[in-house]
């Protein structure tokens, strides 16, 4: 059969319509598109795509099941490896993972693996079928999972399936972590996340919301007083970084976390139907160019900002966001202010933002990682008139729980030191996800949660 090098595009809503509401941007494949895209897969003997997948999903197998129209089987194949296929199909940086590794990628025709994953997961969910959940007999062992983001959810799910009694302690009023408070509805509809959470509840996992570990309980208390045999820490990278430049505490300067939390978790986009307000300027600068920055910029646009700029130190090639997010942002009218770095937020006498003072950069020599280093151009200072600034320059580990956990080894950046199996410096205490790696991806966090569940299981069996 001749090679088919025509990637089937996934339809998206019209940029001018979608940048005014919070309905999902991507519309997903229909049955014919999925069939055509799946038929292009070569079903390689040594599938390179698999080696690019952080959780080693048997990609050719699930794609082959799509070609046979055996969608349920395809879904269960995905579920063998991933707790959240409908989520990962939407938010994984496929161009750096499975699709980047696909044998057809050098020809510019990698199989749309993410799109197919999404299609299969959506089809199953929309069919209304109940997922078959198998659970091993009760082991009598108790595990506490701290943090209900992708890492914690995956760990809890697998441990419950293995027959352990699991309780998730989550600080916020809902599970899901970044999937609920960070990633916007227009990119990841919350009903999809809720469906996954439902499955976890069905497995009998106990869920304690509004429960801030390190305050209302500690790791020590959970193990010594509450009888938990093991603890998994998956508290993520929730602490927003600021640039520490003058003017950063002016009224209309937000961290991306605050801006997105107000809008996503607290539904400020429905104010005053919902009680939480959010400020949105006419001219908004978002500092940074990762997924978080793109989400903040596109959200500001949707809430009525006229001009939204991504302010980024490097060039377009270095933008760390998923390719699709960058493309979508630009289509929606977000402007890129590249090779630019802020040095001060300027405000008026009442504390309102009026401008962002920046300097220009150029690209110099490549650094150790091969990325060309941005170098400041002398005397290049200039002001961009702005009335709102969002800082999206990264997040670190929240020290709240870590401070109260004696004997827990942390690295220089404050992340928990854990080995490949999630073991920390304290016996019986495991960790995974962003709290170990620093801000990373959903799939890596979920993968770590899953892998650590197995290692906790082994630990409990040998205890």
């Amino acid at each position: 059969m001749a090679l088919n090098l025509n990637r089937v595009d996934m339809p998206n809503r019209d940029p001018d319509a979608r940048n005014k509401d919070f309905i999902e941007v991507a519309e997903g494949y229909n049955v014919d598109m999925a069939a055509e895209e799946a038929s292009r897969c070569l079903n390689c003997k040594k599938p390179l795509c698999r080696s690019g997948c952080p959780v080693n999903i048997d990609i050719p197998r699930f794609i082959n099941q799509v070609t046979k129209k055996d969608y349920d089987a395809a879904y269960y194949t995905l579920k063998e490896f991933s707790l959240l296929p409908a989520v990962c199909g939407r938010v994984c940086p496929q161009e750096h993972q499975c699709e980047g590794a696909c044998i057809l990628n050098p020809k510019g025709a990698a199989i749309g693996i993410g799109r197919l994953e999404r299609y299969v997961a959506d089809k199953f969910r929309e069919s209304g079928k109940e997922e078959v959940l198998q659970k091993a007999p009760d082991t009598g062992k108790k595990v506490a999972v701290l943090g209900g983001g992708p890492a914690g959810l995956a760990c809890a799910y697998d441990l419950a399936k293995l027959g352990h009694s699991v309780t998730i302690y989550e600080a916020l009023h809902t599970l899901g972590g970044v999937l609920m408070y960070g990633i916007p509805e227009f990119r990841l509809p919350k009903n999809i996340v809720n469906k996954e959470i439902e499955n976890i509840e069905k497995l009998g996992v106990k869920i304690e919301l509004n429960s801030v570990a390190g305050r209302v309980n500690t790791v020590e208390k959970l193990m010594k007083e509450d009888g938990f045999d093991a603890v998994f820490i998956g508290t993520g990278a929730g602490l927003p970084y600021f640039l520490n430049i003058p003017g950063e505490n002016l009224n209309e300067v937000y961290s991306a976390n605050e801006f997105l939390t107000r809008v996503n978790l607290m539904k400020a986009y429905k104010f005053p139907e919902y009680d939480t307000p959010v400020f949105v300027g006419e001219k908004v600068a978002v500092v940074g160019a990762g997924n978080v920055a793109m989400d903040a910029a596109r959200t500001a646009k949707r809430l009525g900002a006229k001009d939204v700029y991504i302010v980024y130190r490097r060039s377009k090639d270095e933008v760390p966001a998923r390719l699709e997010e960058l493309e979508h942002a630009e289509e929606e009218g977000v402007k890129l202010q590249l090779l630019t770095s802020p040095i001060e937020v300027i405000g008026d006498e009442n504390g309102h933002v009026t401008a962002l003072r920046c300097v220009s950069y150029e690209l110099g020599e490549p650094d150790e990682g091969g990325r060309r280093k941005p170098v400041e151009i002398p005397n290049s200072e200039f002001d961009m008139p702005m009335d709102m600034v969002v800082m999206a320059i990264g997040q670190g580990p929240n020290p709240l729980l870590l401070e109260t956990t004696k004997g827990l080894e942390l690295n220089k950046r404050g992340n928990i030191v854990a080995d490949d199996d999630g073991k920390t410096s304290i016996e019986g205490v495991f960790a995974g996800g962003d709290i170990v790696t620093g801000a990373a991806t959903v799939i890596l966090a979920m993968g770590a949660g899953k892998k650590t569940a197995q290692s906790i299981h082994d630990y409990l069996n040998n205890k």
């Binding site: 305050r215 309980n217 505490n249 009680d275 400020f279 504390g351 020290p399 709240l400």
Partner: protein
């Protein structure tokens, strides 16, 4: 769900509620706060803990109607429940035997002062309390504070009760009269600012309890930023108590006004909702 076991109207704009939250009641300490959300559409608001009863599993909050959510809260009755009630949050007060402690409080700061004054007294301090209110009707908890104070002074702006004037007037007399080793000031930002300016003249270390706009209350958003000694701090995790002589008061006052324009819209909604 967190049930309101008791509701008591302390004055036309201040209400006391005992909320069933046993885990928090068991672990919280003086100086800490909770965050609550009334219902599915509600916002998350922080409230400093006014008292706690570990045996009964109750946490006491006292709120004053200032904005939309506090009006909505005022309308809730005994037997109703909050959807979310999170805590204890923030650092506890540093209680030790300082010697003589001046506790200055006013308005919405009166209730949270109580457990701190109580602990200070228990630790062996001589506690001198100064309570301020706009008028007699708005004064609350004089009797409650009296129990944990060696001396208590009341001021009202209009002179309808106690001394006419501001808390800082009486505080100044006390500072002139005797050696004060430590001070606490809790209340409206403007009151805390001027109390701190006053105690600075007498070199009395002064703790203030900041109550900025918050969202999560766990250090995740930075809404609660303030500047202490020129450095940015998050009130919800580094505080809420800070060295009053080092707080950038003007910044904190400005940051209270971020949602001024939205408050009017919310107020309209409150009126439509009948509260």
């Amino acid at each position: 769900m967190y049930k309101i076991m008791k509701k008591e109207i302390l004055n036309p704009s201040v209400v006391l509620m005992d909320v069933y939250a046993p885990d928090i009641a068991k672990t919280c300490k003086a100086g800490q706060f909770i965050v609550l959300r009334i219902d599915e559409v509600g916002e998350r608001i922080p409230l400093t803990i006014a008292d706690f009863f570990p045996e009964e599993g109750l946490v006491r909050i006292v709120t004053q109607t200032v904005g939309y959510t506090s009006r909505k809260l005022m309308n809730m009755e005994q037997g109703d429940s909050f959807l979310d009630f999170i805590g204890p949050l923030g650092q506890e007060s540093e209680i030790e035997n300082y010697g003589t402690v001046l506790c200055v409080c006013g308005g919405l700061g009166i209730a949270p002062m109580y457990p701190i004054a109580r602990e200070l007294k228990k630790a062996g301090n001589k506690v001198i309390t100064v309570v301020g209110a706009r008028n007699k009707e708005l004064l609350i908890w004089e009797d409650v504070l009296k129990e944990v104070s060696n001396e208590i002074y009341v001021t009202t702006d209009d002179g309808s009760y106690g001394r006419k004037g501001l808390v800082t007037d009486v505080s100044k007399e006390i500072l002139e009269r005797e050696k004060i080793d430590h001070a606490w000031a809790i209340g409206p930002v403007i009151m805390m600012k001027f109390t701190a300016l006053l105690t600075k003249e007498y070199n009395v270390p002064t703790i203030v309890s900041m109550n900025p706009i918050m969202v999560d209350g766990t250090g995740m958003c930075g809404a609660c930023r303030l500047e202490v000694d020129g450095k940015t701090k998050f009130a919800c995790v580094d505080g809420p108590e800070f060295d009053g002589h080092k707080v950038n008061w003007d910044l904190s006052m400005r940051r209270m006004n971020i949602y001024k324009a939205k408050e009017e819209i919310a107020l309209e909604k409150a009126i439509k909702g009948g509260f």
